[in-house]
Symmetry: C3
Subunit: 426 residues, 3 copies
Amino acid sequence: MNTNKGIEMHRLCTRLFPLNRSLTGEGVRQTFKILSEYMPDLNIHEVPTGTKCFDWEVPEEWGITEAYIEGPDGKKIVDFASNNLHVVGYSIPVDQTLSLEELQTKLHSIEHMPDAIPYVTSYYKDDWGFCISDRQRKSLKPGKYRAFVDSEKKLGHMTYGDLLVPGKSKEEVLISTYICHPSMANNELSGPVVATFLAEWINSFDTQYSYRFVFVPETIGSIYYISENFHHLKDKVIAGFVLTCIGDDRTYSYLPSRKGNTLADRAAKHALKHIFPEFIEYSFLDRGSDERQYCSPGVDLPVASILRSKYHEYDEYHTSLDNLDFVTPSGLLGGLTALKRSIEAIETNKTYRVTHCCEPQLGKRNLYPNLSKAKSYATIEDRMNLLAYSDGTVDLLEIASLLNRPIWELCSEVNVLCDAGLLTEC
Amino acid sequence: MNTNKGIEMHRLCTRLFPLNRSLTGEGVRQTFKILSEYMPDLNIHEVPTGTKCFDWEVPEEWGITEAYIEGPDGKKIVDFASNNLHVVGYSIPVDQTLSLEELQTKLHSIEHMPDAIPYVTSYYKDDWGFCISDRQRKSLKPGKYRAFVDSEKKLGHMTYGDLLVPGKSKEEVLISTYICHPSMANNELSGPVVATFLAEWINSFDTQYSYRFVFVPETIGSIYYISENFHHLKDKVIAGFVLTCIGDDRTYSYLPSRKGNTLADRAAKHALKHIFPEFIEYSFLDRGSDERQYCSPGVDLPVASILRSKYHEYDEYHTSLDNLDFVTPSGLLGGLTALKRSIEAIETNKTYRVTHCCEPQLGKRNLYPNLSKAKSYATIEDRMNLLAYSDGTVDLLEIASLLNRPIWELCSEVNVLCDAGLLTEC
Amino acid sequence: MNTNKGIEMHRLCTRLFPLNRSLTGEGVRQTFKILSEYMPDLNIHEVPTGTKCFDWEVPEEWGITEAYIEGPDGKKIVDFASNNLHVVGYSIPVDQTLSLEELQTKLHSIEHMPDAIPYVTSYYKDDWGFCISDRQRKSLKPGKYRAFVDSEKKLGHMTYGDLLVPGKSKEEVLISTYICHPSMANNELSGPVVATFLAEWINSFDTQYSYRFVFVPETIGSIYYISENFHHLKDKVIAGFVLTCIGDDRTYSYLPSRKGNTLADRAAKHALKHIFPEFIEYSFLDRGSDERQYCSPGVDLPVASILRSKYHEYDEYHTSLDNLDFVTPSGLLGGLTALKRSIEAIETNKTYRVTHCCEPQLGKRNLYPNLSKAKSYATIEDRMNLLAYSDGTVDLLEIASLLNRPIWELCSEVNVLCDAGLLTEC
């Protein structure tokens, strides 16, 4: 594995980190501008405020130029310019003087994590607020404070991107990730960044399937995308993955589709089992990202999640501590590798049938050790097992699972047997 | 829960306790007279001796007026008048003088329970005998004894009762219990007493299903009832429970139907899991009451048993120690509650489907917390899960089981979602 | 069990042990001559060299008259006459003088088993070699050695035998074993010897099914047999067992068919569970004998293996230590018993249905204890359970498994109930 890819991905995270992403707005557009450097064919779409999609409609666009709190001495003690988490997402404009007691009702902090700035939004109700570390909050003295937010919510657009990399078949694998969180690294930058490098890899060889990459704001974005592409997705998508929280180094995790046994689930579990056998297997009850939409009743796409430390399951989640130290080059590289292995599993998962009744005579084809001693059989175990199980009813992923062998290691043996005319694809 | 119900049930047990119930006879009729005070609509039926039902026929009616053993000194040492367990059920008349040795062959006692009088019957073979405590038996001195039984077996009737409480649907839930055991409290008085108070509760609200309560002598009674109502029961009964041993305080138990996965089984297991997670789950191999008939091949009704301490599984079973101390108000109340919860599960177990693709927007309906912080999602978990799983293919009981939540707590959330037009019954 | 049978089987092993069996040749013919004494109806077949069967063809016949190594002092230090394992199977003729260094390349021994002569063959590539104990090999001094093999591979025949014992039905149980290994006792003599005594037993009573016994050289023999009898076997065989490694005393083992749930699998597991509950259950991945052919895709016969210590799983396997001490009379008798029990399971595995709705009245047929006391029910548990579960949809093997009772102990109770008209075969 090319460890440089880990470093390159971390660098891209670093570039994207300071941008003030939200459901909509300039931060999202700046993010796509950078991503387009890596994916020149990425299509950027703008959807007008108020566009209906199922039960929802696209919200107003939010813009913010400046926001701070001035202390009793007139100095800025909290400033959006220094960390965009300081302002509650979608805050309305305000310029108000408040007592400390009044100010407290508009502050958010985390008592048990005194140095973390929490991430808070109020997308669908007009409100404003500031997020600060609990340590700072506790140091505030009584007095008069000025809260200032220069923002606007206006008719505008929701921005999203997608990219189709065509393969031999029109059947598609869907990769969905989101670009609506400000300065946090695992949730969310690891998602779009790993997706970007996965697209690069997919582009580097001839794939069996087509690959659809979708970069949307979470929830409203995937709902819009499904509503716009409903029949196409239902017809074409054979497997899909939501990419989020895929850049830290602590563990690997899997969250199933609602059905739990789709091709995406099988491929993800297979890959993770052979990469990191201790991976955490969550329930669909633990869901929390766009699989909520892709797997909703009536939509029911075969979409699973491959993660490292799952959202809600690490302390730094949705705080300023989910930063560029928490996400590492090797963490990102591990995430990318898990996706690549899962996709290899999907690409190579065909069904084969033997061409002869009974075992073929491998010896005359130089495919069998000539001298029979105890245990000489073991050296060609994969070969013999592939011949014993390929009856045209079980696919390679199922055989690999029976043999407890990674499918990517069985493939060369499958090719040997196909070349020798002993196996044939169904 | 109304603890007074426990006390009321225990009082009814106390009234019924002294009556000399058997397969047939006056004790049964007196029992029904008292039960009718609680269930004025209870239908009492009399079936003539000799009536055929499947492989069986209704036996002769048994009556007994007096029975005792006189000791060598002419004093009564064992007297039916003081405890009706003293006489083997269906004993034929006798007036005989015997040596102690001869008498011993007609005595029954339990060596390892020196103070218990055992319960013994001889329904289908002419015989007589006395049951005494082992302590008394060991104290008997050699000498002449007089055994006297004034009884008769004659052409008469077998008495049983049933009650139908109609619901919106003609589909029925069957509650079957028995009234053929003399002075014992858990097996059997707890059964008919809990059934009586369950009928009162069913009568107190509008039910979806109709409820059929059946009070029969065990085995011959249920066989007769099935033979008389075979097609009706097969057509209408969607779930049923045998009620026995449901009044002590030691544990809760479940015994499956033969198929093991009927609605009755699902409801019983669901209720017990949330009432008393350590409940004992028996096998159908452990059966021993009227489920033997209801679940027999060709009959195959969906009938399970909910019990507290199961017959055969407590030392006091079928002895004079199965008394009004062993059965308690809280034991009876717990049994009644388990039945009520199981019935609530059946009543509310419908199948729902969401009305929108993707998650609906709960915020605009004031069904979602507006300020998004880490974990704010948790407070509406039931709501989100009901929307995620209601795809029209799984019923509410299955969803409750997936969520590990009692169905009776999910119901209010289901109503909220139906009222909001987000869920619809299939 | 007749322990004399164990001694008789061990004696037959002792007679067959010295013969130089191989895929083909005189050793095989001598073996069949002796087996025919026990099975006069055994058909011996000769298949010409070069006969095609699926992907294979019958090899040349191998004959050997003399083979030895002379040491530097001119004395024979290794001699085929003293142990036929000394020569690599199918060795071509040689008469050559070699340095010790050159000789080493033609020697086979096992370093961690210094006293064992290994068993080595080279069926399909022209080669020669000698097998000796590692202790002897290490004692060899530098000098000139003479290697002499007087053998020939020529157009000839492959010899095999089969025997059909007809039953009431034309459906067949297949027993397959092999006769191609020289002086080793568990693998392989236990196989043909237990098969021989099993045939004797099958001949001793009227069976439901017909029994086909097949004695072939491993792999090429079973492939030939399947190719010759393909449609017959596919049509008629309802269950089959490969017999090998079935004569030692250490354990019992089971190796499934590829499907894993055939009648053969069910019968084998049932028998072993009640004979030796700690039996080892292997996976089809551990296969290594003729089930490789019988269970190959497209052939898919219901063939499982019942073994004692499985090939590859005991140190003595494929060495001179797999001898007449390792295989014992009680080991062989245990193996025979496991087969007999499995066959009894197959013979008696019918599906029954009760003739009455509800439990029949056993009392009037003297099939029930008349006096009802606590636990009197237990004494007729099998009877009641057979009546409760025989609904015409589950076979006796499944009921036996539900009851955790050996099917051979349930049979008498089944007969009682059939005779009483309470059960009927479907």
